[in-house]
Amino acid sequence: MNVVEFDNVSKSYTTGSVELPVLNKVTFSIQAGQFVVLLGPSGSGKSTLLNLVGGLDHPTSGSVTVCGEKFGQFSDNALTDFRGAHIGFIFQSFNLIPVLTAAENVEYPLLNTDLPAERRQRRVARLLAAVGLSDRAHHLPGELSGGQRQRVAIARALARKPKLVIADEPTANLDSRTTASILDLMRHIQRSHGISFLVASHDERVMREADVTIHLLDGHIQQIEQTPRSTGRSSSSRSRSQRPSPSPGVGP
């Protein structure tokens, strides 16, 4: 089953009278449970693509389907609810709420749910234990290290049991040792919970963890590549403009 489907998606921004294309007729899909890494230089359109997958922005043309739902049909509230229920976010700068403790940050996405307080607390405790921060539950973000903050952010991303987690440069602000542990954690969660990860990164170490890598350049998909450590369900592919061959796992 495909978690993400991009069909001929273009996105451009207008500055004054100048239209600046950022993504150009991008077509690809991501299968459930895959760890997909999005590679490309600055300005290649990685963040824009992530925003479109996350329902944070709307394409200029084409259709975006996530978990079987086409975003184009959603109202803002429906899209927000869908995002909350199915997509988790991990940010480069962690984006934790500084006045809330680690546990409260993880609980924050659950505020809009019908979960009773007791169940929310139990879930938060489980998630913090899963990221190894049970003993830091009542610490404010300012009292945590960079790695610990990113672990809290990962736990928060998982709070509503999403099918897809989007991570934008999750290790860019971390040292190499912490990067390794965060990657291990994400990989572990992805495998144990069957959650799809879409990670934008420049980092070679992140790329090495990928089941699939998507290479972006100037708004085009240059290459979709299944890495050797993946199970072989996917094959390399190119953007539709280059007529790549279809594949069962990732492809146009």
């Binding site: 927000t80 984006n95 609980e107 924050y108 505020l111």
Partner: protein, 477 residues
């Protein structure tokens, strides 16, 4: 964790700004409540002053209010004592009445023969004992001294003058306290002007006849022989157009607050005034003043009195009015203070709204990335808006509660200082007091208004925050 807890934590994020905003609200609320408390006390003082003289409800000839001052004899109550007795005989009325007393007011001419001075005056005939009882009324517990009526226990021909009348008739120097007439001593009479012996003889004759009449009636306060330097002769036209003269002994002066009243007012006993205008044996009066035990009974009393008069005095041209109708100055003063209060409240609300809007806007600017984050995490626009409105509401609530506490502290401080002042139209200094704590309606109103307007002030900024584009908010630095 709930949204209001998040809001409360956010307020603590920039404590200095939150405290400054809350203090601005608190100072505004304190100022408003203190003025409101001062206004409330002042209105109670003023009402108490009028009610102590005129009562709450006044029964008059139906045309007295419009035409009575031109011809009070014609527009008086024919049998005032019967009306008063009927009021006191009806249990549901009597139980509400503290005092019911006749008043007789008419224009006249007063002369002081010893100084050859005269003055047109307004005679106000009052039952001194009833008036003394009326002066004890203090339903709201205001700090207003209770003094017996100066004519109480005095001879029946005693008179109390407005300070201006006393000055113009030049009786001040003969009074026990000449300074009552004002700071400046009255001038001596024009030199070498012979005293008009006719007038002196008239005064002495009237004095003697008055004394004899009182003695014949066995009065407990018989008229005494009147020394010429304190004797005034009052000339009135009786109902039949015959001039009538009566001599009174000036026992003192009483300031009426307004110069026009001070220059015209002469207070005498009701019976003496009645004898002068209607002749002996009459029971007429221009008004019956009814003072209630409880001012909240006013409308009930007006209706019941009207019903009683219609039943017991059918066809009698009587009208029942409230003290506010008879003295328009009361409502004018209340209206003026309400307008000032409204003006101050508007200014304070504007300051509160501006401060809160500014604080919320600054907070939103600082937390733009955070807004993008929580929207990405699945919080709806309405929740974002709710969050910022909650912050504004909490800020206003804290500020208002601090303001209420501050106003209560200031109330205790001001009231303990025993300050006094003289409001316009007051005959003597009044205590300067404020009642915040007793005005619970005003306090609750201030709380609601401050919170509602502070919340409304945050709506535009909160709405803008809720409508931020998520990608722009996340990119914001």
């Amino acid at each position: 964790m709930m949204l209001h807890q998040v809001a409360a934590r956010n307020l603590l994020r920039n404590r200095r700004r939150s405290i400054a905003t809350a203090l601005t609200i608190a100072i505004g609320v304190t100022a408003l409540l203190l003025f409101g408390g001062f206004r409330a006390d002042l209105i109670k003082l003023m009402l108490t002053g009028y009610v102590r003289t005129l009562g709450h409800v006044i029964v008059q000839h139906q045309d007295f209010f419009e035409y009575g001052s031109g011809n009070p004899a014609q527009y008086s109550i024919e049998d005032a004592m019967a009306v008063r007795n009927a009021l006191l005989a009806q249990p549901d009325l009597a139980s509400r009445i503290h005092v019911a007393t006749p008043l007789l007011m008419f224009p006249s001419v007063a002369g002081h023969a010893a100084r050859e001075t005269s003055k047109t005056v307004l005679i106000n005939g009052q039952e001194a004992e009833d008036q003394s009882l009326m002066r004890t009324w203090n339903y709201w517990g205001v700090r207003m001294p209770v003094k017996p009526h100066p004519l109480a226990g005095k001879p029946a021909n005693s008179a109390l003058l407005g300070t201006g009348v006393a000055r113009m008739l030049q009786v001040c120097s003969a009074l026990p306290d000449p300074q009552q007439c004002g700071a400046r001593a009255p001038r001596p009479p024009v030199a070498n002007t012979p005293v008009n012996t006719d007038l002196l003889n008239l005064a002495e004759d009237e004095s003697t006849s008055s004394q004899s009449a009182q003695a014949a009636k066995g009065s407990q306060s018989p008229a005494q022989s009147v020394p010429a330097d304190r004797a005034i002769e009052v000339l009135a036209a009786t109902t039949r157009g015959v001039p009538n003269v009566k001599t009174f002994q000036v026992i003192g002066t009483e300031s009426q607050g307004f110069k026009e009243m001070d220059d015209a007012y002469v207070i005498v006993g009701y019976q003496a005034a009645r004898d002068l205008l209607f002749g002996r044996g009459s029971t007429q009066a221009t008004s019956i003043a009814i003072q209630l035990n409880n001012p909240d009974d006013l409308q009930t009393m007006v209706e019941k009195t009207r019903a009683m008069l219609a039943a017991k005095f059918p066809g009698a041209p009587l009208a029942v009015r409230t003290v506010n109708e008879v003295v328009p100055f009361i409502d004018q003063t209340i209206s003026m203070f309400n307008t000032i209060f409204g003006f101050i409240a508007t200014l304070i609300i504007a300051v509160v709204m501006f401060t809160v809007a500014n604080t919320v806007s600054a907070s939103i600017l600082e937390r733009t990335t955070e807004i993008g984050t929580i929207r990405a995490l699945g919080l709806r626009r309405s929740t974002v808006m709710q969050l910022f409105l909650l912050e504004a509401t909490m800020l206003a609530l804290v500020g208002t509660l601090v303001g209420i506490a501050g106003s209560v502290v200031m109330e205790l401080l001001i009231n303990s200082m025993q300050l006094s002042w003289r409001p316009p139209g007051a005959a003597e200094d009044m205590p300067l007091t404020v009642s915040v704590f007793r005005e619970l309606g005003m306090v609750a109103g201030a709380l609601v208004v401050a919170v509602v307007f502070a919340t409304l002030a945050a709506v535009p900024a909160a709405n803008k925050a809720a409508r931020l584009k998520i990608v722009d908010a996340l990119r914001f630095t």
